[in-house]
């Protein structure tokens, strides 16, 4: 059976030319990893058809697998952030939190995590130890053990110090059904706190753009906050998403697209710290497109929205949780924003690349 399937796939792929136009993109661009439109295109045009299975097609933060009556959440993420050490964290803590959060965004209780390291020859051993300690601290605090891993070393110049891949496994309790497709008209859109913090923290230490700030990355394990939200809302919590690369704007667009619904948000309701605003103003950035590493978007039924909001606010990471918008039937697939002065505009997917390698 396995042989038949792989032969069949092999036959399908042989003779098929590359689905990405080689005149447009003869080589991979940074924007293909940016979390915006070009990333989406690469996934939709190349990976989804190539790997061709219904679990992948859902394109959630993680895969949901039914295994003998249990539902497992399975998620992977690679971390190529530069610089490796930044205010509030490093590639290690980011890698643990990022995958634990992706598993949590499936509505699952994270059980275990793996860590694969690709090290550059010449990488200081002291830095490796620092990253390792950081990963362990994050894993311990999250209650999720690093149970297996792998280490490779490549020639000097072939990796930026270290690249990390983490893969996580979680168990979805009964009565929880999280999927981007579940967003429906009448639902309320919540965010768990102030946005754009991580991206700005990274920008502040990038060469050529430095500025002085006390802002630290918001990288954190979101599972307790998510668990509280799920406790309050149960299966009336429809969608969970952590808005990493591409920011809140891209996450909302993905949800609107997935569920074929319209989303409307109110600019003045979106929590943004003053300092983050200041940084965005001088860099000409829109906070809606800047990455977050410790925030969660939830799309929930109106009747339990207040309960979920209260539950989020009771968690230390959710003190600034807010209602930012709603799901509507109109303009399916499109996200609209009410501006500060009461005008309207469309919030598009991120185009190209806004911030290189921030997570």
């Amino acid at each position: 059976m396995g042989d038949e399937r792989s032969n069949e796939l092999g036959r399908r792929l042989t003779g098929l030319s590359c689905p990405i136009s080689l005149t447009d993109y003869p080589s991979v661009q940074l924007a293909h990893g940016g979390g915006g439109r070009m990333s989406q295109m690469l996934i939709d045009a190349m990976f989804v058809p190539a790997f061709d299975n219904p679990v992948l097609e859902l394109l959630h933060d993680g895969a949901i697998l039914g295994v003998e009556g249990a539902r497992l959440a399975f998620s992977t993420d690679s971390f190529v952030v530069h610089p490796l050490f930044f205010p509030g964290g490093d590639i290690g803590s980011l890698a643990i939190h990022g995958t634990v959060n992706d598993v949590a965004m499936c509505g699952a209780r994270p059980i275990a995590i793996s860590a694969g390291l690709i090290l550059e020859e010449g990488f200081p051993m002291e830095d490796l130890w620092r990253v390792t300690r950081s990963m362990e601290d994050a894993a311990r605090a999250a209650g999720v053990p690093v149970v297996t891993g792998d280490t490779k070393v490549v020639d000097r110049g072939k990796a930026d110090g270290v690249f990390v891949n983490t893969t996580g496994l979680g168990l979805i309790p009964d009565g929880i059904e999280i999927s981007p497709k579940r967003a429906e008209p009448g639902d309320v859109v919540l965010v768990s706190g102030a946005v754009a913090v991580h991206g700005i923290a990274i920008m502040s230490v990038r060469e050529g753009l430095e500025f002085e700030t006390r802002i630290e990355s918001d990288t954190a394990c979101l599972y307790p906050l998510v668990a509280a939200a799920l406790e309050a809302g149960g299966e009336a919590v429809h969608v969970l998403r952590d808005p990493t690369r591409g920011g809140v704007a891209s996450a909302l667009n993905e949800i609107a697209r997935s569920a074929s619904v319209g989303i409307r948000v109110d600019q003045r309701r979106i929590p943004v710290w003053e300092e983050v605003r200041g940084a965005c103003e001088i860099l000409g950035l829109d906070p809606l497109y800047v990455a977050n590493e410790g925030k969660c978007i939830a799309v929930v039924e109106k009747r339990i929205a207040d309960a979920v909001l209260d539950a989020m606010r009771s968690d230390p990471l959710g003190a600034e949780a807010a209602v930012i918008g709603e799901v509507v039937e109109d303009h399916p697939g499109t996200v609209l924003l009410r501006s500060e002065i009461g005008g309207t505009r469309v919030v598009e997917m991120l185009s190209g690349e806004q911030l290189p390698r921030i997570c």
């Binding site: 060469e207 753009l209 003053e274 609209l336 501006s339 500060e340 505009r345 185009s351």
Partner: protein, 374 residues
């Protein structure tokens, strides 16, 4: 944020919109010069709130958009040279040249870097004396003093491995070119507030006189644009012309004298081609003879490469305000920010980019969204 938030108030905006509505008794066409102003109009949704009698036409105030394609090709040629660190403001990186863009050169292995300020480029040159650091000096008069300072400091500090590729353009000649065109529809201007912060607005007085148009120096926040629009319309309705200053918190008639003094030392006025528009006399800056050694075009001896514009790109029509971005046949289909045919689709001040990013090709966008209630 002080001097920002106050100019984004909803109640004040509504009042100004109502005042404009009350004022207007006939159709008028206004042009806002600066791409940054275009972006505010579209981003905050002001364009949709203004009365239908008012046509806002988007001007050529996007220095990235009007940088000639030959210059992009030269930049690419220089950036490909070994030993060169090519530095630039962010949005120049994705402007299409004849065959590729600077980001493409980066992905081929070229040392192309984004900087926030031309002084950062100079600092790089001092830090890496073994590299030739080139800065892509693009901008209107607003940016010229910064670029002038970098060159002036390079001379003072005897930094030999620093040079600039200069693409400076000036607003008043462009305004005259627009007003002088036989089929010109523009009846009044919102002039660029930060250009005028540097240059003052006395240069616009003869233009306003000659063509009998109101020119209102305007800022960039939503209330500034509404206020400037109100002032321009009031002048039109009352049959007045001349220059008025909405952005008085930053602009004076004389402008910034120390900045202008250094500009006179470092630059001189020259004829310049504007991408999509053509050559406009006395409309640009080049380095003065004393500083000509810092000209990257000479230092790197880049040949004039024959430039190939996309036959489909109608950037010139967009920049002159003749056509709106969403009226272009390639808009949103063959031309997108990920795959641009021309500059206005990638520049942070480009009209096409604004229309695309803020969804102005969606006819179904409603004008009024309910605020989120507590």
């Amino acid at each position: 944020m002080k001097f920002v938030d106050e100019y984004r108030g909803e109640a004040e905006a509504r009042k100004l919109v109502a005042a404009i509505g009350d004022l207007v008794t006939q159709p008028w066409t206004l042009m806002e010069i600066c791409g940054g102003q275009t972006h505010t109009l579209i981003k905050s949704g002001i364009d949709r709130l203004l009365p239908p009698e008012l046509t806002m036409v988007h001007g050529p105030g996007c220095p990235v958009c009007v940088t000639p394609i030959e210059l992009i090709d030269r930049a690419i040629e220089i950036a490909r040279r070994p030993g060169v660190t090519f530095t630039s403001f962010g949005d120049m990186l994705r402007v299409p040249g004849s065959s590729t863009d600077l980001l493409g050169v980066k992905s081929e292995g070229g040392d192309v870097r984004i900087v926030y300020s031309p002084l950062d480029a100079l600092a790089l040159a001092r830090k890496h004396p073994d590299r030739e650091v080139v800065f892509f000096a693009v901008g209107f008069e607003t940016t010229a003093p910064a670029n002038a300072m970098a060159v002036w400091q390079a001379e003072q500090l005897e930094v030999e491995n620093f040079s600039i590729l200069c693409s400076h353009v000036l607003v008043p000649p462009a305004m005259e070119a627009i007003l002088g065109a036989p089929d010109n529809q523009v009846q009044g201007f919102l002039a660029a507030g930060h250009v005028c912060t540097v240059m003052g607005y006395w240069e616009y007085e003869p233009i306003a006189e000659r063509y009998r148009v109101p020119i209102v120096v305007t800022g960039f926040e939503p209330l500034d644009l509404l206020h400037g629009t109100y002032m321009a319309l009031r002048a039109l309705e009352e049959g007045r012309w001349g220059v008025e200053n909405q952005y008085a918190r930053s602009v004076s008639r004389d402008g910034n004298t120390p900045a202008q003094d250094l500009l006179k030392d470092v630059f001189r006025v020259t004829d310049r081609p504007w991408r999509g528009i053509g050559s406009i006399p006395h409309s640009g800056f080049e380095l003065s003879p004393r500083f000509a050694g810092f000209d990257a075009a000479h230092r790197f001896d880049v040949d004039t490469i024959t430039a190939q514009e996309s036959p489909e790109c109608i950037a010139g029509e967009i920049l002159k305000g003749r056509t709106k971005p969403h009226e272009c046949p390639a808009f949103g289909t063959r031309c997108t920010p990920d795959h641009p045919l021309g500059a206005p689709m990638v520049s942070s001040e480009g009209a096409c980019a604004a229309y695309y990013a803020y969804g102005r090709y969606e006819e179904s966008v409603p004008v009024d969204i309910e605020p989120v209630r507590d």
